[in-house]
Symmetry: D2
Subunit: 405 residues, 4 copies
C-alpha cells in the first residue's frame, strides 16, 4: 500500500533523487516519517514566520549533499565503493533521527539523554530489524570505519549537516546572511591520507561558510526573542514535571503522559526498549496540544506560562557581554513584590544565564587545507586567513529573561 | 509584555513592514496568532515536503500585497484615502481568519459552516471588541463599500489572495510552474468607474497568472496523492464523529472533544458565541495529536485509517476524465471479500467521486482589461487572448480511492 | 599557453562541467570564442538593460542541458553510447556557431545566407580541421543519425536550445513570465521508437514551456521598442550597403568593410572559404564602432539613423492586429512634407510591415506525449490540453515605424 | 522622438522606478547612454562568462538604492528634503559617469586623469548645460553639502555604490560568496550628528558586507586569470601608444585614434573641452575593434599580444604572498633566449608586480555604529566584531605574468 518517494521536489535544491531501495526503506519507516512533525528550528518561527521547515526535509537534504560530495570525490579519482556511498548517505539521512520535539530546548527536560545517544540507539534497533542493512552506516556514523573521511563528511566542522542547515535555514528565514556557496565547497573537497581536506583555492568559501554560521547564530539561533521563547518552553515543562511528580493531573496525549509522569533515568531508557518506542512517536503536536490545554490549568504558574507562549507574550530578554546580575536582582525584587510568589516560584518569571557560541572550535577536529604544494595545514595557519584567534574564541553572553510589568 | 512585530522577514518578499498600530493589534490577537499553527496547504506536505508554511504567513503576505497594490494605484493618481488603505490591508489580513485546521478537508465535517461565514463572524466580533476599528474593513470585505475596487483587490479572480498563495505555494513546494509576475501585475492595475481593471499591456501577465493557477491545481492542489491524503483525513473524522454519536470514548483535547461530540448546526454556531470562541483555538495540533492516539483505538476502521495516515500508507488513487464506475465496483467486490466488512464500512476503504477545477470562471465577476483606446473589455474578448473558451470551461475528473491489496 | 576552462560558474545553472577534451577543444577555438562578443538578444538590452548576455554563455548552457537530458534518459534504461553523448553535446554546443552579430536583424543584409547553413559550413570545416572529430555530431545535427531522438533533443519544438534561451533570457531580462520548469521537463523525457516523447504526467510542464515562450515573444522578443530598434539597425545597414554600392567611403573595420563592399551571393560564400573565415571574426564590436563613426557621415540618412540608435531616439512603433495602412499613408504624407525627401528616402523614416509568432507550429514536427497506457499522442490531442487550436495558430500583427515630429 | 524609460525591469531588484524628470533627463543624455557599452567588470567575463553587465545597469541600481536608503531614513523621522532626495539620487546615478572603457585597466594609459576627476568635469559640464539642475548633486558628490550623510551614502566604505556592485557582480558571476543582505543594511542605517551610522543590531550585516567584499576581491576582481587579462590589455595599449608616438599607422575609430596619437596631459584635458567630449563617446567597442584589427599588424609585439587576448591564450599568472623575484628572473632568461627580444621588449611577455586589497581601510572614513545606549563607535571597537586588526590590514600579493613555452 506504500507510495514510493523516489524523487522529491525540494525548494532548496530542486529535484533530488533517492534511487536506492535501502534509502527508501528508511524514509518509509514510521520513525523517520515522525520527523515530518518536528520543526527544524523549534520556536524560531515566532520571530521568522517562514521558518517552519522540518527535520524530515533537513535529513533528506543532508543525504542529498552526502551523495553530491561523494560524486565530486569520485570525479577526482578518489575511490568510493558503492557500499560506502550508500553507507554515507544512510548515515547522513539518519544523523538527526534521535531528535525529539523542540530538541534543543526539551531534550534534558523530557528525557535524560542527549539526542546523539538516542540516534545511535534508534539506528542500532533499525539495523537489527533490517538484518544488518545499516552495519556500514553505523560504523561510519560512530567514526569506527577505516576511511575516516566518510565520517568527517557526515559529522565534523565542515559537514553536510551544517551545509544543509545553513542553506535551508537561510532559505526559510529569509536571512541572506546565512547563504553559503555549498556547491563550491563540495567541489573543493578532496581526500588525503584518509582525511577530508579542502583545496587551497577553496579557502575563501570555507571562510564564508564559517562566517555565515557565526552570523546565523547571533541573528537567528540565539536571537534574543528566540532564546526567550525556548526558555519559556523549558520553564513550562519544568513546571509540568514538577506537578506530575506531585501526581497533579495534566492533560496529555498517552505518549507525552508517559514521559511526564515516568521520570526516566538514562539507565531506564537503555534497558527498556518500550521507552524508546514511545519516544519515537512523540512530536511537536503532543507538546503544543498540551500547552494549549494547560492554559486553563488550575496551577497559576503553569497556566500563566502557557498563556504567554500561546499569546506570544514572551519574556523580555536582555543579552549582553556585560554582567547582568545586578539588573536581575532588581527585577526579582520588583517582581517578587508584585506577584507575591515564593523565591523558587519567582524563578519561573525572572531568571538569568549564559549562552555561548563557538564559530570555530580549535579544540575539536580542525578543518584542514591542502596547499598548492601538497602540504596539509589547519585553516587557522593559512596566511591571511580570516579564521584566526578572534573567531576561534568562543563568545559567551549573559542573558536575563523576565516578564514585563 | 507584548513584543511588537513591525518588520517581518518574509522569505518570499524580503522585509515587509506593518507600520499601522491597528494592523499590529490584529496580528497580536490570539485568534490571529492561531493561524501560525494551521498549515496553508494542509496535507500537501506529504507530497511536497517543503510545503509546511502557515496561514499566518499567507495572511501577512496578502496584507503586504494589498498595500503594494494601493501604492501603485496612488502613483497613477487614483485617490486612496488613508482610512481606505488601512481598511483594505485589514480586510486582506483577515480574509482567511475563519479557516480551521485542514480547512478544505474538514470544514464540513467538524463545523457545519463555510469558512467565509466564520471569517465574517470573527471579524464582526473583533470589531465590537475593538470599538469599531474594523468598520470600513468589514464594509470592504462584504462588498458593500462604495469604492468597489477595494473589494475586488481583496477578493476576485485577480486578487491579492491568489497572488500571494501562488507565489508562496510555488516557493515552498519548489514547483516553478506556479511562479507569477505579481509585481508586474500590480503595476498594470488601474481603476475605471470604481472597478479594478488591467491595462492592456498587462494582458500577458494576467494570462500567465491564470495558467499558473491552473497548473498548480493539477500539479499540486489536486495531485492525486494529495487528494488521497485529504480524503483519508475526511474519512477519519467522519468515522470519529460516527463513533462519538454513539458515545464511544475518543482521545481528544478539550477543544476538539467539543466539536466531536457536540454535533453543532449552523444555527447553534450562530446563536452561541461559545462555539466560535472554542473554534478560534482549534488548530492542526489538536487534529494530529488525536489521529496519532487513535491508531490504537479499538475500532478497527478508525485505527486502520489513522495508521494509514501516520505511516503514510495512503489510498491508491485513480484520477481520470473517463468514467471509473466499473473499476470502482470491481475494487469493492474484491475488497469486500477480503476485509469482510459491511457495505457502509467498506466505503471507508474504497470509494469514488468527482473533483473539478475552473481555471477561470465566466459565471463569476470577470477580469477586465482597459484597452489603449480606453475601452473596457472582458479578458476573454481580447484578441488572441489565451483565456478562451477552453480555459473558461471547468474541468471535471473522476477519481477512486482504495486501499491496496 | 591556453587556460583550460573545465568548470564554469554559470549564474543560471551554477557550476557546470565540461570534462570532455573534445568539448574543450571546440570552446578554445577562436570561432567559438567569437561568440563572447555577440549578444544573445541583440538590441533588446535597450529595453531590458540586464539582457546583455552572449551566445557564448547560451551555447555552453545548451551543451550542459543536452548532457543533463541524456543522463536522465540513461537512468530510465535508455541506452546512450558514450560517443552519442559526446556527439549530442557537441551538436548543442555548436548549434548557434553560424550566428553573426545581431543575427536576427542583419543576417539577410550582411550575408545572403541563413545562419543555419553557415553553422553547418563552419562545423564541416572544423570537422576537417580536427580529423573527423565532429562526424557523429554533424550527423546528429543534420538529422541523418539513426537515433532520431538525439537530433530532436538538439533541435525541435521542445529542445535544449529553447529551454536554455527561455531560462537565460528570463534570468537576464528579469521577466519572470519566461521562467520554465526545465528540470522537470528533462525528467519527463523518454524515448519510444527512437523518438523523444514526454511522459503524460509532464504535460503541464510542457504547456507551461509553450506558454512561457509565447509570453516571452510578445513581452520581450517582439516588444515594440525592441522591434523598432532592430528595424533601425536593418535600415542603417541597408543604407550603408546602398552607399557602398556607390563606392561612397564608409568607416569600417577591415572585416566589416569586406562585407559592406563585396556584395556576396550565397554562391560566392559557398565557393570561396575566405568569406567564411572573415565572417567568423565579425562581431558586435565591428557593427557598433561603425555606427558610432557614421553619426558624422555626410549622408543625411545614414548619419541621422545612426544618431537615432546611439542616442536611443528610436522609431515610434504601432503594433496592432488591425490594419495600419491608412495611418502609415498619413504619416508618410506628413513626414514627406516636413523632411523634403524622395519617396524611396522617406522609407527610411516611416514604413510598415508584418510580424508574426507561432507559439506551437502544427506543420512542424510535433511534441509527442506517451500516455499512461503507452499510447503516443500529439500534445494537441491530449484531453484538456492547453495547446489547442488557438495556440497552434500563428499570430500575425501589423506594425508601422516612424520618426516622431 | 525620445522614449521615456520610467520603469526598468532590473534582474537584480525587479521593477525599479525613475519618476523624476530630472533623472530621466540624465538617463537620456548621450553621455549616460554611453555607459550601456562599457562593461562593469572589464575582462572578468573571460573567467565568469555571465559577467557582461554594464556600468549603465550599475548606475541605475546605485540610484535606486540611494532612494531606498533615504526612504528608510525618512520612516525613522530623519528629515530629507525633496531636493536632497533628488540630489542624492542624481549623484548616485552619475558617480561612475567618468569611467572610460576598461577603466580600471586603461585609465592611466589612455588618458592621464583618474575617473573621479573626469566624473566631476562631466557633471559640471552637464550642470551648465542644464541650467544648474545638478547644483545640489554636485555639492553632495564633492562632500561640500552640509548634511554630510548624503555624501556618505553615495561614497564611503558603506555606500550604495559598493552595495550595488556586490549585489550585481554576485548575480552575474554566479559567485554566491558576494551575496549581501543589502535590504537589511539599508534598514539599519540612521543619522546622528549629520553622520551616517548603523544601528548596533545591524553589526552582523555590515560584517557580512565587508567579508563579502573581501571574498569577491580574491575570488573575482583579483582572480589571477582576470589579473592576467587586464595586464594584457594594458600591455597592448602601452605598445600601441609607443607605436603611435613613432607615427606608426594603427587601425582605430576616429575617437580612439584621437587618444592614441594625441598624448594628452591632464592640463590639456582640463583646458580643451574637445577632449572631454570625445572621451564621452569612447566605449568598449572602439577598444575591441582595434584589438581585433591589430592581430594582423606588422609589429610583432602588438599583433602577438592582440592574438593572445582574442584567442584567450592569456598570460600564465603566479600570485603569492612569497617573493617571486627569482622565478621572474629565471622566466626572463628562458624567454629571452627563446624569443630573441631586447630587454624592454621582453617586458611585454614576462613581468611582475604587486597587487593589494584593503578589506577595510582604517585610514579612510570609518563605518560608525550607534550602540543601544546611543554611543557612536567605530566598527572595529565593537565587542566581538569581526572587523578587527586582521581585516583592517591591507593584503599585498606579488604576481608575475608570463607567456607559456
Amino acid at each position: 500500500m506504500s507510495v514510493k518517494v523516489k524523487i522529491v521536489n525540494d525548494p532548496v535544491y530542486g529535484f533530488i533523487r533517492f534511487p536506492e531501495p535501502e534509502i527508501m526503506r528508511i524514509i518509509d519507516h514510521t520513525w523517520f516519517q515522525r520527523l515530518r512533525n518536528i520543526k527544524q528550528m523549534g520556536l524560531a518561527h515566532l520571530v521568522y514566520p517562514g521558518a517552519v521547515h522540518t527535520r524530515f526535509a533537513h535529513s533528506l537534504g543532508a543525504c542529498h549533499l552526502a551523495g553530491k560530495a561523494l560524486e565530486e570525490l569520485s570525479t577526482k579519482g578518489i575511490r568510493v565503493e558503492k557500499e560506502e556511498f550508500l553507507a554515507a548517505r544512510l548515515a547522513a539521512l539518519l544523523h538527526d533521527i534521535g531528535h525529539g520535539p523542540f530538541s534543543h530546548s526539551l531534550e534534558n527536560v523530557l528525557v535524560a539523554m542527549p539526542h546523539e545517544a538516542i540516534s545511535r540507539m534508534i539506528m542500532e534497533r533499525m539495523n537489527r530489524e533490517m538484518g544488518g542493512m545499516l552495519d556500514t552506516a553505523l560504523s561510519v556514523y560512530s567514526h569506527s570505519y577505516p576511511r575516516r573521511y566518510l565520517h568527517q563528511l557526515v559529522s565534523s566542522q565542515l559537514d553536510i549537516d551544517r551545509m544543509d542547515y545553513l542553506n535551508r535555514d537561510s532559505f526559510y528565514t529569509g536571512v541572506s546572511e546565512g547563504v553559503i556557496g555549498y556547491d563550491r565547497i563540495l567541489q573543493m573537497l578532496t581526500v588525503t591520507d584518509n582525511e577530508l581536506v579542502v583545496e587551497e583555492k577553496g579557502v575563501h568559501s570555507v571562510e564564508k561558510f564559517i562566517i555565515a554560521r557565526r552570523l546565523m547564530y547571533w541573528q537567528v539561533y540565539l536571537h534574543k526573542t528566540v532564546l526567550g521563547a525556548e526558555m519559556l518552553l523549558i520553564k513550562i515543562f519544568t513546571r509540568a514535571k514538577e506537578l506530575a511528580a506531585q501526581n497533579v493531573e495534566l492533560f496529555a496525549s498517552p505518549l507525552l503522559r508517559h514521559f511526564l509522569y515516568a521520570n526516566l533515568t538514562q539507565i531506564d531508557f537503555e534497558n527498556n526498549p518500550e521507552h524508546l518506542i514511545k519516544f519515537c512517536q512523540l512530536d511537536d503536536h503532543d507538546i503544543m496540544t498540551s500547552i494549549k490545554a494547560w492554559q486553563s490549568h488550575s496551577d497559576f504558574i503553569l497556566s500563566e506560562l502557557c498563556k504567554m507562549l500561546i499569546l506570544r507574550k514572551l519574556y523580555k530578554v536582555l543579552l549582553s557581554s556585560e554582567p547582568l546580575a545586578r539588573i536581575l536582582r532588581d527585577k526579582k525584587i520588583a517582581l517578587g513584590d508584585r506577584l507575591k510568589l515564593a523565591e523558587n516560584e519567582l524563578d519561573y518569571f525572572v531568571f538569568g544565564g549564559i549562552t555561548s557560541n563557538s564559530t570555530y572550535d580549535i579544540n575539536n577536529e580542525l578543518i584542514k587545507i591542502e596547499t598548492k604544494t601538497g602540504e596539509i595545514k589547519n585553516i587557522t595557519e593559512i596566511d591571511d586567513s580570516l579564521v584566526n584567534q578572534t573567531l576561534a574564541r568562543a563568545v559567551h553572553k549573559n542573558y536575563i529573561c523576565f516578564v514585563q510589568d
